[in-house]
């Protein structure tokens, strides 16, 4: 059969607009990635796009294959040098984008362009490895609409070039952009409920099947596990959310919001580090107040430590609880992570100091900072009670000319603590915490530095406390007899506003503040609250929607725990039902006009004859058929001919009247062919007068 044999025709040159559409689609899906791309690759991709667009006018400028291959090889090498791999998250998305930009140069047929569009969807999804925020999803929906419009355009442009059938008008403009936009949006809107069903009911599995290779040179903002002058004040610049906390009851007052993460034991003269594992066998805590229950939603920070309100009492089984009262997840947090905790605001921890903790808590570097050591020794001689030493130093910070500032003078060299305490006297929390801890050790009081966040913004709309990177903080714990490890925050002595309210209130009016603090006023603050509340819901219910949440939701819906197979059945059934509803809405079969009345009646006539064994053959004209039927059913010959003649007149005569149609229908209705061998002749050809 010729239809089957006719070959596949790829249209060689699609109208230029198709190329522009594909370029637009690619630019759109690549744009959100750009901030992560190495600069050279951004320029390379942009150049490839511009080049291709220029080629629309100058087809001879299309690059040869070897040049494209060369570009791929060089780009892959560049990526390998930059990331150490080509298949990591970032490197992979750069490489894919580059490949598509290059593929664009050798795409000619409709199928090539469809491939590019299909892979564009894949580029969209690689962006989700980095961001799943509301703006990202809004941008995704916009991109999907444009990609759909591109698909419509490419599909309409097909088969028009080389149209030899005579009409040479251009088909590519027969659907306006508005029509395409309307169609794409309608498709998207109708797809949304279907997507929602699948999203909620598709069974979630926990745990990855494979991992992407690690990349170097990827910056993540957040607390690091060492503290040196300047690294916390750098974090202050970021208003990114670190985590959110939802309290079961009233959130504690601001000054109690110390979110601990890491305990730093060792000081090398310049920076504080975590040091060796604390071998103290058991974390001993005596609560002195009612516990506070809360849930934390942690943003991915690519580290394994977790944050807890001082002092965590009960933690979930899968979280590791060290004798430093630190929490660790056991794996890097690379996606939104939720956990429930309860903490006590007043407590005694480790009333018995273990030998390891005593030695680690008093350890000093071999040399350096002589003035600090001397001051410590002097304090130890002056006061017998460690408690007194602590208050004395805090009083010193408070009374003397110490300043709290985001931009302290640099303290380079080996004696940075001396420089800070006795010369510059201007510093941020890491300066105060570090020097205070060292001074305590010099005075013989066991001390350690704690890193975490202090404060948080209570959103009055949903009672959620949002803790941002700008609330990063460092403080000190000293060990006192009978009181155990006690939190001392030297920053509170210099800038009590920092703890009571926030950083903004604590800084001098003259201080240059980060942009996000400058914007934080009145209406803006209100908008931030709204946005934050929405973002929180989004994180909880969309991004954080996992197997546990799914089970909880289904429990509520079906009042029972659904097994895996049953879940799939529910999913498919509800999806199909929804698809049916939407399809009915699209098709509107109730509006569909049926066959034309003339044809319908004629079809009835043919069916009646067919029942008596006279079947109309393919390609048999109505009159030929009538002749044959009349021969086979001679008793009905008259009415067969009458009906066929009426049919022919109705079909082919320009001005057939309604009266004729009514007669025709009546004739067909009354027509009752009988078997050739049958005896019933109760139907004399009716409507003989119809002529």
């Amino acid at each position: 059969m010729r239809v089957a044999l006719s070959r596949l025709i790829d249209v060689k040159n699609l109208p230029q607009q198709s190329v522009s559409w594909v370029v637009l689609s690619l630019v759109l899906v690549i744009t959100p990635h750009l901030p992560r791309f190495p600069l050279w690759s951004v320029f390379l991709i942009a150049a490839l796009f511009i080049w291709r667009l220029l080629c629309i006018k100058h087809p001879r400028w299309l690059p040869p294959k070897w040049l494209l291959l060369l570009i791929i090889i060089v780009a892959a090498w560049g990526l390998f040098m930059h990331f150490g791999t080509v298949f990591g998250k970032t490197a992979g998305s750069v490489f894919l984008s580059l490949l598509l930009a290059i593929k664009l140069h050798e795409s000619r047929s409709r199928r090539d362009y469809m491939l590019l569009i299909a892979l564009s969807f894949f580029i969209i999804v690689t962006n989700f490895l980095f961001s799943q925020s509301i703006p990202t999803v809004v941008f995704m929906l916009l991109s999907v609409i444009v990609l759909l419009m591109s698909m419509i355009h490419i599909n309409l442009a097909q088969d028009t070039i080389g149209d030899t059938s005579g009409n040479s008008r251009s088909h590519s403009h027969n659907l306006s952009h508005r029509d395409k936009l309307k169609l794409a949006s309608r498709l998207l809107l109708q797809a949304l409920p279907l997507m929602l069903i699948m999203f909620v009911l598709f069974p979630r599995i926990s745990g990855p099947l494979w991992q992407l290779p690690e990349e170097k040179n990827v910056a993540v903002s957040g607390l690091s596990d060492r503290m040196e002058p300047g690294n916390i004040s750098a974090l202050i610049q970021s208003s990114a959310v670190a985590f959110r906390a939802e309290f079961d009851r009233q959130p504690p007052p601001q000054p109690q919001l110390y979110w601990r993460a890491l305990v730093l034991w060792t000081f090398d003269g310049r920076s504080w580090e975590r040091g060796k594992h604390n071998p103290t066998p058991q974390a001993n805590i005596q609560p002195l107040a009612d516990p506070i229950d809360y849930r934390i939603t942690l943003e991915p920070h690519q580290q394994d430590w977790l944050f807890a309100l001082d002092m965590p009492l009960n933690v979930p089984d899968n979280i590791d609880y060290s004798s430093n009262f630190e929490l660790r997840a056991g794996e890097k947090i690379s996606s939104l992570y939720q956990y429930r905790l309860s903490s006590v605001p007043e407590y005694i921890i480790q009333p018995q100091l273990s030998p390891w903790e005593r030695s680690a808590g008093l350890k000093m570097p071999a040399e350096g900072n002589p003035q600090t050591r001397a001051l410590g020794r002097q304090l130890a001689q002056q006061y017998t009670e460690p408690q007194q030493i602590v208050s004395q130093v805090l009083a010193m910070f408070n009374a003397e000319d110490y300043h709290y500032t985001l931009n302290p003078p640099l303290t380079p060299g080996a004696d940075s603590v001396d420089q800070f305490l006795f010369q510059t006297r201007r510093g941020f929390c890491e300066h105060y915490a570090g020097s205070f801890a060292l001074l305590m050790r010099a005075a013989g009081v066991p001390a350690r530095v704690v890193l975490g966040y202090q404060g948080g913004t209570l959103n009055p709309l949903n009672q959620v406390v949002t803790v941002r990177q700008s609330e990063a903080h460092a403080w000190v714990e000293v060990w006192l007899e009978q009181q155990g490890w006690l939190r001392v925050d030297p920053t509170a002595a210099i800038a009590p506003q920092r703890i009571e309210r926030n950083l903004n209130a604590a800084l001098d009016a003259s201080e240059v503040r980060p942009l996000h603090m400058q914007l934080n006023s009145g209406l803006m603050q209100q908008l931030v609250f709204y946005w934050d509340a929405m973002d929180n819901q989004w994180k909880q219910w969309v991004i954080g929607y996992d197997d546990k949440l799914q089970q909880a939701l289904l429990n509520k819906l079906f009042n029972q725990k659904l097994p895996f197979a049953e879940m799939i059945v529910y999913m498919l059934v509800s999806f199909m039902l929804m698809l049916l509803v939407i399809s009915l809405f699209i098709m509107r079969p109730w509006q569909r006009p049926r066959m034309e009345p003339v044809q319908r009646s004629y079809q009835q006539f043919c069916n009646k004859l067919a029942k008596r064994g006279v079947k109309r053959q393919d390609h048999e004209g109505p009159m030929d058929f009538a002749q044959r039927a009349a021969q086979q059913l001679p008793q009905q010959a008259a009415s067969i001919e009458l009906i066929s003649r009426a049919y022919m007149r109705l079909r082919y005569q320009a001005n057939a009247s309604d009266k004729l149609l009514a007669q025709f229908q009546r004739l067909v209705k009354q027509f009752k062919p009988i078997d050739r061998g049958g005896s019933k002749t109760d139907n004399p050809p009716a409507g003989g007068s119809g002529k």
Partner: protein, 334 residues
């Protein structure tokens, strides 16, 4: 994409077509595309689209990216909806075929086709292809855009004389996204009369003159006999007119090609006879020659009659007579 079903081996396509053919109602001049005669399958692009979707879903499962799930499900839903849309693009359309003008074998028969809708919707990218379409031809494409009906023509290659019908005409569309190929086979009841292909040579025919085989074979009767004809007038040049009949003076005057016309005495009659032709020629060749003679005789304004083994047309002239003769030749069955 060409018209054939995507992704299926030939024998399956033929099986499906035979099955569909049985389901199809009898041939009609106007056919409403019914849901039960509408078929749909994914295209190559459609399969590509769904495999990318699957990749996205696997990635989303592995990295627990909920937005990845979302995109995969969104694309899946869009794909299925596109299927409904593609189906809907054809469903309920009325296709009407009109009588095609007779052609000579070897020429394309052009059936004029109109597609109409009851509503006022967009039905772009409707394509038609017949079993008998010339293989090289692109399918006929029609776009029904918010109008009641649209006209186009379906070209059929002809190789034999007689009646030709469009056969099974495939109406198909991949609109809007190109992911699905929806089609319906239409048995369009229309026929086109195909005359025999005229023999290549021209004949100078003389009324009253009994032609014999010899002067048929030597192709041209000499032009010097022209002088005895009565000059009848000048008419527009038509393809096939002889050079020595060109009205050169008139051409110089008007700048248009003109031909001198000669007429014979109307009482003179020419008989084109089957049994005068070289008996060694086969039937089709004879019909070809007779066809050419009819054309030439008509062109020269002769009164001529046609005598075939089974029928005889009395001498006459005019368009209707010519068509009558050609029809006899086209439908001649020995």
């Amino acid at each position: 994409m060409a018209a054939e079903l995507p992704l299926l081996p030939g024998f399956m396509q033929r099986m499906i077509q035979r099955w569909a053919s049985r389901r199809q109602p009898a041939a009609q001049a106007e056919i409403t595309v019914q849901r039960r005669q509408l078929y749909i399958l994914p295209t190559r692009q459609g399969l590509l689209f769904f495999s990318i979707l699957l990749l996205i879903l696997i990635g989303a499962i592995n990295y627990e990216i909920n937005l990845g799930y979302m995109l995969a499900f969104l694309l899946g839903s869009l794909g299925l909806l596109a299927m409904v849309y593609t189906h809907q693009n054809l469903n309920g359309l009325q296709v009407r075929v009109h009588r095609a003008e007779p052609v000579f074998a070897g020429q394309d028969a052009l059936f004029s086709i109109s597609i109409s809708q009851q509503g006022n919707d967009l039905h772009p990218a409707l394509q038609l292809r017949s079993d008998n379409s010339p293989a090289s031809n692109q399918p006929t494409r029609l776009d029904l855009l918010r109008q009641r009906s649209v006209n186009g023509s379906l070209a059929l290659a002809t190789s034999q004389r007689g009646y030709i019908t469009p056969g099974m005409v495939k109406l198909f569309s991949e609109y809007p996204l190109g992911l699905f190929h929806a089609w319906s086979w239409l048995k369009l009841d229309a026929q086109c009369l195909v005359y025999p292909a005229p023999a290549p040579q021209h004949f100078k025919l003389r009324a009253g003159q009994q032609q014999n085989n010899k002067n048929l074979r030597d192709n041209q009767l000499s032009s010097d006999k022209r002088g005895s004809d009565d000059f009848a007038g000048i008419r527009q040049y038509q393809l096939g007119d002889q050079r020595n009949h060109m009205a050169w003076k008139a051409i110089a005057r008007t700048g248009q090609l003109q031909t001198l016309q000669f007429s014979q005495d109307a009482s003179e009659e020419l008989w084109l006879r089957w049994d005068q032709l070289d008996p060694h020629l086969d039937i089709e060749q004879k019909l070809s020659i007779l066809c050419r003679m009819v054309l030439d005789a008509d062109q020269q304004g002769l009164r001529y009659g046609l005598q075939l083994p089974d029928s005889c047309l009395e001498p006459n002239s005019g368009l209707q007579h010519k068509q009558h003769c050609l029809k006899q030749l086209a439908l001649f069955a020995h």
